[in-house]
């Protein structure tokens, strides 16, 4: 037996020991090779009479196994697989057999009559935990704080397909298992022991020995579900009183939370419901069928690609221009200690970067530092941070009023008001203190960087660094290259964003850049609906139900209706429209100027807010000015409104591609999900067009919407060209591809 990813030895007592150790990788994943090896050693254990039992452990310090290999999985997802012409029945059989192979093997291992114990010194996630669950006994390390277990498949649109949906509920009961599988949150060794997911805890140096000892002491091990008279903890739906109620509530809670947008989670529920009512062998077959059903959905491919592969790539600098040395940040200055500046200072200090926080008065600067003090205090009081580390973090932030303190900074983030003159003044003052190599960054969400760079004496070093609020919670930073911005500056800025542990996307200059510009279309479509007389509750509910984090009116309240009014007036003016005569402008002006309903900050906008700033109810008088013409929303209308919301945003994204604002499909997807919460089940705006629709049907739908509702939906030439050529965004705008060209 020749294995590539496991070592395999048999000791004097006949106990085999398989050590999982994928060569050349820091972490074990269940690659195709690894699965083949598991199949091979399972045969060996089952058939070799000299082997009395098996211990499985890992040769990696990083842990046992992180689960499936998502690179391989992503390639297979979203399609029916084989392109060879076969009958439907043959294709389905081949798909089932391939999908069932690991399940079949693990079940063989579980029932071979020899004891199998697993030593878990580090993390075991997804398929890693599923392999462990197929053993009869699990020993976990009690001295590794990084150890975690979990079945996170649902987070990326998949379901555990190696027995996880069958063994976990049989082990811990349906009620306990469902949230773990549906939400994919991980849990630690203590909790695993308490639930019965592992049987014993031991120091990591002893787990293998403990596992061996158990194998020796239990020569005829069986899984609990193979014992006569086995009962699922908490009962089986329709067999035990109340057990069906667990499913009823799980269905409702999932439906309430995810609006039925995630096929994987529905299928997880079905795996558990259908599988738990039959013997485990049948349950495993049911699981495999649902696994394949899930894997073939476009949502699975989109989610694996964006939420895992692309997110991981970008957060490791996947969009960084090559050929520049890593930029070390020994000191970073933040100018402007308002909400954004204070947050930026905090994330820098948290990442260990000495930070100067500049404001016009010491009082303001200290107030900015208070933001960090409060966050540290909270973390210390919750035991997430030691006082010592908290103090060290705070010591890294130097509040000041003097630009002398900016001297020697490797990078400056200017985070003052969105005022071009003020920003120009600060750029000049800061640059006087900076060396030739230092980066001058401006945190702005709308002002074109090329314009701001005019104030700079080194426009090649000038760049936009757009943070999102609240900075400590938002994982994305939008980096904007101006016309003159050099590639070296871009590389340095990406290094900075990675250093503060955020995910960077890189875009080119344009009004509103990428995120603000595209996001704005969502709220504007909501305003269009309002103007058409669609009942506000319909606008808000459909917005949330199609996967957006908030209703369009609630978002407008958060941004400020006064801001929306300003933008609407400016846009109307720019387009030469009659500002006074425009109905939308009049409506917003009435809200802001007559009614004082400027949004959440005033406690009243489209919504009335409670003292905690949470929306209580839609303001009943919204429709004083606009007559409600549509007050029912049957499924056909809901679908239409859903398409209007999502297609409108996607069309704007396509325009950004055409205009060269964005040049890498990954930036578009990750930006849309992380910056403005675009329906994550779609994989982001580009994947929504690519996979959920397909470019050709998307163009047809957008044309239909444009004919019906206006040119804002009209597909651009780029989309038509892509449709004609059968290209997707990931073909046309592949990772890193056009960036150098577009930036030049």
């Amino acid at each position: 037996m020749k294995l590539e990813t496991f070592s395999f030895d048999i000791d004097a007592d006949g106990i085999a020991h398989a050590v999982f150790d994928v060569p050349g990788r820091s972490m074990n994943t269940l690659t195709g090779k690894a699965v083949a090896d598991i199949i091979a050693f399972t045969q060996e254990v089952a058939t070799n009479d000299a082997i009395k039992g098996l211990v499985i452990s890992s040769g990696k310090a990083s842990g046992f196994c992180a689960g499936a290999d998502l690179g391989e999985m992503g390639d297979r997802a979203g399609s029916g697989g084989s392109s060879e012409p076969k009958s439907e029945a043959e294709t389905k059989k081949a798909q089932f057999d391939a999908g069932f192979s690991l399940n079949k093997t693990l079940r063989q291992l579980e029932t071979c009559g020899k004891p199998v114990a697993v030593a878990l010194n580090g993390l075991a996630l997804g398929g890693g935990l599923e392999v462990a669950l197929a053993g009869h006994y699990r020993v976990a390390a009690n001295d590794n704080p990084k150890l975690q277990f979990g079945l996170p498949e649902a987070k990326i649109g998949l379901l555990p397909g190696a027995g996880g949906t069958q063994r976990l509920p049989r082990l811990v009961g349906v009620q306990t298992a469902l949230p773990l599988i549906l939400q994919g949150e991980s849990f630690d060794a203590e909790k695993a022991l308490a639930m019965g997911v592992v049987n014993e805890l031991a120091p990591s140096s002893e787990t293998v020995a403990k596992a061996k000892a158990w194998v020796k002491a239990n020569p005829k091990a069986k899984a609990p579900w193979d014992e006569k008279g086995f009962k699922v903890p908490g009962g089986v739906p329709h067999r035990a009183p109340g057990a069906g109620q667990v499913m009823t509530m799980a269905n409702a809670m999932l439906h309430a939370k995810t609006y039925g947008n995630y096929p994987a989670q529905l299928n997880i529920l079905s795996c558990v419901y259908e599988g738990i009512m039959v013997p485990i062998d049948a349950g495993l077959r049911i699981e495999t069928r649902y696994f394949i059903n899930t894997q073939q959905r476009p949502e699975a491919k989109a989610m694996i690609r964006s939420l895992f592969l692309s997110t991981q790539a970008l957060s490791k600098g996947g969009n960084r221009p090559a050929g520049y040395p890593k930029y070390e940040l020994k000191k970073v200055a933040v100018i402007g200690a308002g909400l954004m500046g204070a947050g930026i200072a905090y994330v820098q200090a948290k990442a260990g970067i000495p930070t100067v926080l500049v404001d016009v008065s010491m009082e303001n600067a200290e107030k900015g530092k208070d933001y960090s003090r409060k966050l540290v205090e909270k973390d210390v009081s919750r035991g997430k941070l030691t006082q010592e580390k908290g103090d060290a973090l705070l010591a890294l932030i130097t509040p000041t009023t003097s630009y002398d303190d900016v001297k020697g900074a490797d990078l400056v983030v200017e985070a003052v008001f969105e005022n071009e003159e003020l920003k120009a003044k600060i750029t000049k003052m800061a640059e006087e203190q900076l060396g030739e190599e230092a980066v001058m960054g401006s945190n702005t969400s709308t002002l074109p960087i090329t314009g701001l760079a005019k104030a700079s004496k080194r426009p090649a070093n000038f760049i936009g660094i757009h943070f999102f609020s609240p900075v400590e919670r938002m994982g994305l930073v939008e980096i904007i290259s101006g016309k003159e911005t050099s590639e070296a500056t871009l590389a340095k800025t990406i290094d900075y964003v990675l250093a503060i542990r955020k995910t960077p996307i890189v875009v080119n200059d344009s009004r509103g850049f990428y995120t603000s510009r595209c996001f704005g279309t969502y709220t504007r479509e909501g305003m269009e609906m309002l103007a058409e007389g669609i009942k506000p509750a319909i606008i808000e509910n459909v917005g949330r139900q199609c996967g957006m984090p908030m209703g369009a009116l609630e978002v407008t309240d958060s941004v400020g209706i006064d801001t929306a009014l300003k933008v609407t007036r400016a846009t109307a003016e720019a387009m030469g429209a009659d500002v006074q005569g425009d109905e939308r402008t009049q409506f917003l002006a009435w809200l802001v100027e007559d009614q004082g309903r400027v949004g959440r900050k005033a406690g009243k906008g489209f919504y009335d807010y409670n003292e905690k700033g949470k929306p209580e109810r839609l303001w009943p008088d919204i429709n004083k000015m606009i007559e409600v013409k549509v007050d029912e929303c049957p499924p056909a209308l809901k679908k239409e409104l859903t398409h209007r919301f999502l297609v409108r945003q996607a069309i704007e994204v396509a325009r950004c591609f055409e205009e060269g604002v964005i040049t890498d499909a990954r930036d578009a997807d990750i930006g849309s999900i992380l910056a403005w919460g675009f329906a994550p089940y779609t994989g982001g705006c580009a994947s929504y067009m690519d996979l959920i629709w397909g470019i050709k049907p998307f163009v047809e739908e957008a044309d239909r919407l444009a004919d019906k509702y206006g040119e804002r939906f009209r597909p651009n030439d780029l989309l038509r060209d892509m449709a004609a050529k059968g290209e997707g965004f990931y073909d046309r705008f592949p990772p890193g591809g056009e960036k150098a060209k577009a930036a030049a």
């Binding site: 739906p237 329709h238 069906g244 499913m247 009823t248 509530m249 799980a250 269905n251 409702a252 809670m253 999932l254 439906h255 309430a256 939370k257 609006y259 039925g260 529905l266 529920l269 079905s270 419901y273 259908e274 009942k535 506000p536 509750a537 319909i538 808000e540 509910n541 459909v542 139900q545 109810r617 839609l618 007050d631 029912e632 929303c633 499924p635 809901k638």
Partner: protein, 401 residues
């Protein structure tokens, strides 16, 4: 096609559907048996001429399982040749059983058949039969499954029935039921339930609260607020995005009561009546069932009534008396609103809010109530209907003869 005539209708009083209820000590089989014996004895039936007994039962498991209709036939000492079948159309099971019995007469399958139903909710709790709808994710999510009470509250929210509206309706139901009992309007149909010694166990509907008023009802907490908050409000809003939030107005005082009881209605051809000297009391004019949107679940009565009216060639105003099961107050208010039915034509003797809703038995009870009331008031036509789980409605139009 034969005409199907109603020759008689009986029902038990309704006992509170809990362990302290008077009928908790009486088996479901005994309830079913007693109505079958009563209808036989009152009419001196030759049971060999009764072809079939169709009983509604919504929780046909345990002592109510295994075709309770046939088992009750045997226990009532009917002829061995009388068949029995149990049907389940949720809350309309009893009316569906009557419609099936009438259909058998109309098609000639049977010359005489009995419809009705039995439900001991104190002994076999609601939901005991399980079912896929709420628990199987594939259908629960697709069809926006929500508990009936959330559906009833959704009706109230969507059509603007306030807590005062539904409470006022409930108070009136109690008043009407109390008056009907006082004036003996149910006397013709009521068969007191006997105990194991042959003594009278219950001779009146014991769920009623004639003293209920707006103040006492106002003190009751909404029953479905918690269920709604656990997720069902968000679920139902996905089917009705026009609703900002669900106004939970229903509670124990304006919803149907949980009770035990049984009913039986005798159908036959004209010839059978002549042969046994029975006077027909009513004639079936039309019957219908329909499916409606399942999430809100309880809007079927309007559509099924219109369907039955169309089959009968009638308009809503041609009906003298409407009897719609008071599953929840909003259900009745909605049908009155939709078909423009004045309250003095609707549930004139109260309904399930006052007297209770013994699921499988109710349809037969409502039919009997209407036959009695047409005779008492000298009116001509009545429409009986119920809202039904999973989004359905069943209706029957009868005419006094």
């Amino acid at each position: 096609m034969n005409e199907a005539y109603v020759y008689d209708a009986v029902r038990t009083p309704r006992g509170k559907g809990k362990s302290s209820g008077s009928l908790h000590e009486i088996t479901a089989l005994s309830l079913g048996t007693q109505v079958l014996q009563a209808i036989r004895d009152r009419n001196e039936l030759d049971t060999a001429m009764v072809d079939d007994v169709v009983f509604g039962c919504v929780s046909p498991v345990g002592e109510q399982g295994g075709d309770i209709a046939r088992i009750a036939v045997l226990n009532a000492d009917y002829a061995d040749t009388t068949a029995g079948v149990q049907v389940d159309r949720f809350c309309a099971s009893g009316l569906e059983a009557c419609n099936m019995a009438a259909s058998k007469v109309m098609t000639g399958e049977a010359d005489m058949a009995i419809g009705g139903g039995v439900e001991s909710m104190s002994r076999v709790p609601m939901g005991a039969a399980g079912g896929a709808w709420s628990s199987d994710p594939q259908i629960a999510i697709k069809s926006y499954f929500s508990p009936q009470g959330v559906g009833a509250d959704t009706i109230a929210t969507k059509w603007g029935f306030s807590r005062d509206d539904v409470d006022a309706f409930a108070v009136e139901s109690q008043k009407r039921a109390a008056r009907a009992w006082k004036e003996g309007r149910f006397a013709k149909s009521i068969v007191p339930v006997k105990d194991q010694m042959g003594g009278i166990r219950l001779d009146h509907d014991e769920h009623m609260r004639p003293e209920a008023d707006m103040q006492s009802l106002a003190a009751l907490q909404p029953s479905f607020l918690g269920m709604g908050a656990m997720g069902f409000d968000e679920v139902i809003k996905q089917r009705y995005p026009e609703l900002e939030k669900i106004n939970h107005v229903h509670h124990a005082g304006n919803s149907s009561g949980i009770v035990d009881g049984a009913s039986a209605v005798l159908f036959g051809t004209k010839e059978m009546g002549e042969r046994f000297g029975m006077k027909p009391r009513a004639r079936i004019r039309a019957m219908a069932s329909i499916g409606s949107e399942p999430g809100i679940m309880l809007t079927g009565p309007t559509d099924v009534s219109l369907k039955a009216l169309k089959k009968a060639g009638m308009n809503p105003e041609d009906i003298d008396l409407y009897e719609l099961n008071e599953a929840f107050a909003s259900v009745v208010l909605l049908m009155m609103h939709n078909l423009n039915i004045p309250h003095d034509k609707m549930n004139v003797n109260g309904g399930a809010i006052a007297m209770g809703h013994p699921l499988g038995a109710t349809g037969g009870m409502l039919m009997g109530t209407m036959v009695d009331e047409l005779e008492r008031s000298g009116k001509e036509t009545a429409l009986i209907t119920l809202c039904v789980g999973a989004g359905m409605g069943t209706a029957t139009i009868i005419e006094r003869v």
